[in-house]
């Protein structure tokens, strides 16, 4: 059972690291421990991916874990981004600590919860049990709630409260949906734990009762959709993503949204199998379009830099949701790719944004200026990140949007004007602000920072590489995943 061992390391490392960091979180070497833990997790993730690549999808831990092409790539992505975020958080949090924005307990809490959060996300991805999926999702929420309010400012607390309540309510709906799913599954698979295993469910999905499943889907949609940040369930997202420490914003925007979308897609597969209709897809498309439009128009009037990119996350999740809803191989391929590149690009942006706002000691975009001259690597990283995120080639986001848009043109041409409008407005909105921040002379209140350049450059390099060349193994993965989802 070598697979189980890899899995165990993958899940155990962050948990163990969380426990250690809860005690040593404010020591001088804590960031290094954090990085080491995440790196070990990443290594284990790679190992697992390698196994899956060799053998195909597999069950482990007494059917408790299920690894296939769909979730293993997200697991590798999650562990990778969390590793780079840990690298980024080293200078960032150190400076926050020096400036007294975070105290001793805050640091310990921060480090421990960071690792716990990673654990929750990985559990979410790897578990085979839909009930456990829900639990892990809730755990992921809970572990980050207090991180959002880490600075204890009124707005931070407000944001965290909204995050807590709205996601709590949302996720409760998802539990109701899960109960309904279980109810339907029980009639086919019999009682007991087997009925919640996704592997079993997917085999018999066409025997499940369609009416119940469509009811269940509504609740799952609202539940996980809240976590994905789909309009009109999104209201917590800009607050929570902008008020917390930037490393947390990076992982929230870059990873947690993906995980929620993953859960939603898993459920959609079952529902589609049962209902043989396109209802679920239509609902997802509706949410997607609405999210894209509302988010892009909201982008136009942002003043806070992190808030702006939170709205951009909503927009991109809308695109991915829309694409999954659209279905079909090209769109699904595009959606998977989009999740990957958005996650990388968005977290890279948050890294640079973190440094930029530290340099100017504000998150107000009107006061951030002259990044090109002040710190060229941050400035150009930010610029290229923004270019990537708005879908400029040759970055990978363009490739995925290319696939999604062309597929839309074919399958749902009436949607393209809306999609086009949303993308156009988002492009203009983001570029309008970004170029005033990067260009021009250095303002006198700008102070230099020790920036972590490696994570940004690594992310952007990967996004660029994907835009130009998609390696075979990634492609095969995506194709396998597409087969699974289709």
């Amino acid at each position: 059972m070598q697979n189980s061992a890899v899995l165990l390391i993958l899940l155990g490392t962050p948990l163990f690291a969380a426990a250690v960091l809860a005690f040593v979180g404010d020591r001088r070497f804590a960031p290094e421990v954090n990085i080491a833990g995440s790196a070990a997790t990443f290594a284990a993730g790679l190992g697992l991916a390698f196994e899956v690549y060799k053998q195909g999808s597999m069950l482990a831990g007494g059917n408790f874990f299920f690894v296939d092409a769909f979730n293993v790539y997200l697991a590798v992505l999650t562990s990778f981004v969390s590793m780079t975020t840990a690298i980024f958080s080293r200078p960032y949090m150190r400076r926050e600590r020096e400036h007294g924005r975070v105290g001793h307990w805050g640091m310990r809490f921060y480090h421990a919860m960071f690792q716990l959060f990673i654990f929750a996300m990985l559990l979410c991805l790897l578990t085979n049990n839909i009930g456990v999926l829900w639990i892990a999702m809730e755990l992921a929420t809970l572990s980050t709630v207090l991180l959002v309010s880490l600075y204890r400012t009124p707005t931070a607390i407000e944001a965290a409260w909204k995050y807590f309540i709205l996601c709590g309510v949302g996720i409760a709906q998802a539990l109701f949906g899960t109960v309904l799913l279980y109810f339907a599954a029980e009639r086919v698979l019999g009682e007991g734990g087997q009925a919640l295993l996704w592997t079993n469910l997917s085999l018999v999905s066409d025997k499940l009762e369609p009416t119940i499943l469509s009811l269940a889907f509504v609740f799952l949609m609202v539940g996980y959709g809240t976590k994905v940040g789909l309009v009109p369930l999104h209201n917590w997202l800009p607050d929570a993503h902008s008020e917390g420490p930037t490393p947390i914003s990076a992982v929230l925007s870059g990873l947690l949204l993906n995980i929620a979308l993953y859960a939603l897609v898993r459920c959609k597969v079952l529902v589609d199998g049962a209902t043989h209709s396109h209802h679920a897809g239509d609902i997802m498309m509706g949410f997607g379009i609405l999210s894209i439009l509302v988010a892009s128009f909201s982008l136009l009037r942002q003043k806070d830099i992190k808030r702006m990119f939170s709205y951009s996350s909503i927009e991109h999740m809308g695109i991915a949701t829309f694409a999954f809803g659209l279905g079909g191989p090209v769109a699904t391929f595009g959606a998977l790719l989009h999740m990957l590149v958005h996650s990388l690009a968005k977290s890279a942006i948050f890294f640079t944004v973190g440094h930029a706002s530290q340099m100017h000691r504000t998150q107000e975009m009107d006061r951030i200026k002259g990044l090109f001259k002040g710190n060229p690597l941050v400035g150009w990283g930010f610029m290229f990140g923004a270019m990537a995120i708005v879908g400029m080639p040759p970055f990978g986001v363009f490739t995925s949007e290319f696939l999604i848009l062309t597929a839309t043109m074919k399958s749902a041409p009436l949607m393209t004007p809306f999609l086009l409008l949303g993308l156009g407005v988002a492009f203009a909105a983001i570029f309008r602000k970004v170029q005033t921040m990067v260009a021009g002379d250095v303002p006198e209140y700008q102070t230099p920072v020790k920036a972590a350049h490696v994570p940004v450059m690594l992310h952007m390099a990967i996004v660029l590489a994907i835009g130009i060349y998609l390696p075979d193994f990634l492609n095969n993965w995506f194709h396998t995943a597409v087969e699974l989802i289709k």
């Binding site: 949302g170 363009f398 086009l420 060349y469």
Partner: protein, 684 residues
């Protein structure tokens, strides 16, 4: 895969690799700018030369070659293809890039010490590489990647002097329009790819698949309109042109030359590629649309240019005009092709292609000249210039050649293409559609108006900038430019002349493109009376010989000069006639605003003009004002008609949408609640 033999495609790929190497070298050498500038621009001129050679060679061969790169999506690797059409544009882009790269060696040196220029070198290389890749791309994905690389690189070049607000504003406007256009192009390809093979795999995205597909007319129309919108936005066709006079002037002049001279041509290439090569079956009204917009662009472009007093903005608006003229040719080719008149379509197409290369040459030349002037005087406003012909004789002479060429005066190149366009117009009786028959000659009249206005416009541009006396308040030290700049401009001017006097040779060479795209062939009739005379359809129909005109004028000049100088009278210098009023100052000369006044009066209704004359009264005698303050502001009406409403509507909507997020958690909970209820009702 690419074998290491010398083929046009390999040569072109080599050029691209060289340019990428340039960007790498620029980033390595960024600390040593004195070394970086010559090295980088020498590399890019070598690359451009290679690309030109590849292009010329391909068109000469008349065949196409293709390759597949191991990059891209696995189901959709990057396809490259070099056929005569792309070869033609490759040559065109390469040629001007070659000149401009040489020019840049001298020009960019002027920035050293003022600002870091590594950025300029890096994006300059990427920009040219992007343009090369656009014409080489043979699948939708690679095309768009190249397209946007080109746009992004030029965006950064426009932003080069980024501390100025106008540069940032212009760059922003540019990139937004470019991106929206790119998305439209993307959708057009999406339509075609979907119809070509469906979306079960990626093979439909290759141009080959699209070429072989038959599109239902309504979808073909959708694809065409999207593509035309997208490419038109890039080309600066009215009313999508507003970004162009903003972005082109604020870029460094070598970049302006490339943007106006060749980047706009990539859009022309795109339109030709999509309509003639990919869709192939063209309804006549597409052509009519392109033709109509081309005419409007030509006329509006030159009228706006006429009104400008900023030399580079004037040139940018004139690019709108010239793109309009190219579009007129393209539109006519489409009309003729849709009615199956291959040879006439070939004539119109060749006129368009010819004008494309001509415009590249003279607009590149003019922008280089404007750059040289800017370099010397630090001034873009013509009102502050004058008399530069004495200080910068070389620049003036070369700029004059550009002005004569762009004003479509024989024996230079601009005239040849306009003449061919007129000839195509006069073929309209052959059309079966009575409407087109009637409307096309009217288009010819408007084109004639455009040409005449262009002459007026460039008399103004040259006259105000180089002639007369210095108008500026401050007398700055003006010097002739350095040799690389002069050499580059000289080469461009020479090409203007050669293209003007040897059209048959040139048409003979490029005829294969017209043959492949329209089915008609011109070379046999065009050179019917010999290489010296251009006879596009038949000698008795129309003929022109630039060489004879050129040598005729020269001969008469020489003879008269010699006769008169057998016993020449003396030449004395004297004061000019001042009506007896003795305080003639340099500020009393006609300037750009006063020069264009009569035309402003006539065509005033097309502009948004705010003219204001303010009297500052003298204390003692109110009847004799102390001074007059005159201010004139001319705005593009399209700005208020199209762009401003869009922006306003977006912000209005944005405010509305903002109300969703009003801060109270209870409201947010209501959203969730209502969403659940609605969805439940939906699934029941």
């Amino acid at each position: 895969m690419i074998q290491l033999t010398l083929t046009p495609l390999n040569l072109a790929s080599f050029a691209i690799i060289l340019l990428l190497a340039q960007t790498a070298i620029a980033s390595i050498l960024r600390k040593n700018e004195r070394l970086m500038v010559p090295v980088c621009f020498a590399l890019s001129s070598a690359a451009s030369f290679a690309a030109t050679a590849a292009g010329v060679w391909t068109v000469g061969l008349g065949s196409s070659s293709s390759a597949v790169m191991a990059l891209g999506l696995p189901g959709l690797p990057f396809h490259l293809r070099l056929d005569p059409l792309s070869g033609y544009f490759l040559g065109l882009i390469g040629l001007l890039s070659f000149f401009v790269s040489i020019y840049s060696i001298g020009y960019v040196k002027g920035f050293i010490g003022h600002r870091p220029i590594a950025r300029l070198c890096i994006f300059y290389g990427l920009f040219i590489a992007g343009m090369f890749m656009v014409v080489l791309a043979d699948d939708a994905l690679f095309f768009l990647i190249s397209w946007e690389t080109m746009a992004a690189a030029s965006y950064f070049l426009v932003m080069f002097e980024d501390e100025r607000v106008e540069n940032r504003r212009a760059a922003f406007l540019y990139i937004v329009v470019a991106h929206v256009g790119a998305v439209a192009i993307l959708l057009a390809f999406g339509v075609m790819a979907g119809l070509a093979t469906g979306f079960d795999n990626f093979s439909g995205f290759t141009f080959d698949a699209m070429r072989q597909a038959d599109f239902p007319p309504e979808w073909a129309t959708v694809a065409f309109l999207l593509a035309f919108f997208g490419f038109g936005a890039k080309a600066g066709i009215v009313p999508m042109h507003v970004w162009l006079p903003e972005a082109h002037p604020v870029a460094p002049s070598n970049v302006s030359a490339l943007m106006s001279g060749v980047m706009l041509k990539t859009a022309v290439y795109g339109i030709l590629r999509v309509t003639f090569d990919l869709i192939k079956i063209i309804p006549w009204w597409w052509g009519a649309l392109v033709l109509a917009l081309g005419i409007i662009s030509a006329l509006m472009g030159i009228l706006y240019a006429m009104m400008e007093k900023d030399l580079k903005r004037l040139l940018a608006y004139s690019s709108v005009e010239n793109i309009g003229i190219i579009m007129i040719g393209v539109g006519m080719a489409m009309v003729f092709k849709s009615f199956g008149q291959g040879i006439f379509a070939a004539l119109a197409l060749i006129a368009a292609l010819y004008h494309a290369v001509n415009h590249a040459m003279f607009k590149g030349l003019l922008f280089m000249g404007a750059g040289a002037v800017l370099h010397a005087t630090h001034e873009r406003n013509m009102e502050e210039m004058g008399g530069l012909i004495h200080k910068m004789p070389w620049t003036a002479a070369l700029f004059l050649i550009g002005c004569v060429s762009i004003s479509a005066l024989p024996p230079f190149n601009g005239f040849v293409s306009e003449w061919l366009t007129f000839q195509a117009f006069l073929l309209s009786p052959a059309l079966p559609s009575p409407l087109m028959k009637l409307l096309m000659p009217l288009g010819a009249a408007l084109l004639a108006l455009t040409a005449a206005l262009a002459a007026a416009c460039f008399v103004k541009a040259f006259g105000v900038t180089f002639l007369g006396n210095w108008r500026g308040r401050h007398r700055t030290q003006v010097q002739e430019t350095c040799w690389p700049i002069r050499i580059a401009m000289g080469m461009a001017a020479t090409s203007c002349l050669l293209l003007g006097i040897l059209p048959t040779v040139f048409i003979d060479w490029m005829d294969v493109i017209a043959e492949q795209l329209t089915g008609g062939k011109l070379a046999t009739s065009a050179g019917a009376v010999g290489w010296m005379w251009l006879t596009p359809i038949a000698p008795e129909r129309a003929s022109y010989s630039g060489l004879v005109v050129f040598s005729g004028i020269l001969a008469v000049y020489a003879i008269v000069y010699i006769i008169l100088h057998v016993n020449p009278g003396k030449i004395r210098r004297g004061h000019v006639w001042d009506c007896g009023f003795e305080k003639l100052t340099n500020r009393m000369q006609y300037n750009a605003i006063s020069f264009s006044m009569p035309i402003r009066r006539i065509f005033g209704f097309l502009f948004n003009i705010k003219e204001e004359v303010r009297l500052v009264p003298q204390q003692a005698h109110s009847a004799f004002p102390q001074k007059l303050i005159y201010s004139l502001r001319i705005r593009d009406r399209f700005w208020n008609w199209i762009y401003k409403p869009v922006a306003d509507a977006s912000f209005w909507l944005s405010r509305r949408v903002g109300r969703l997020q009003q801060g109270r958690i209870n409201t947010y909970l209501i959203y969730s609640f209502v969403t659940i209820i609605l969805l439940l009702l939906f699934v029941r």
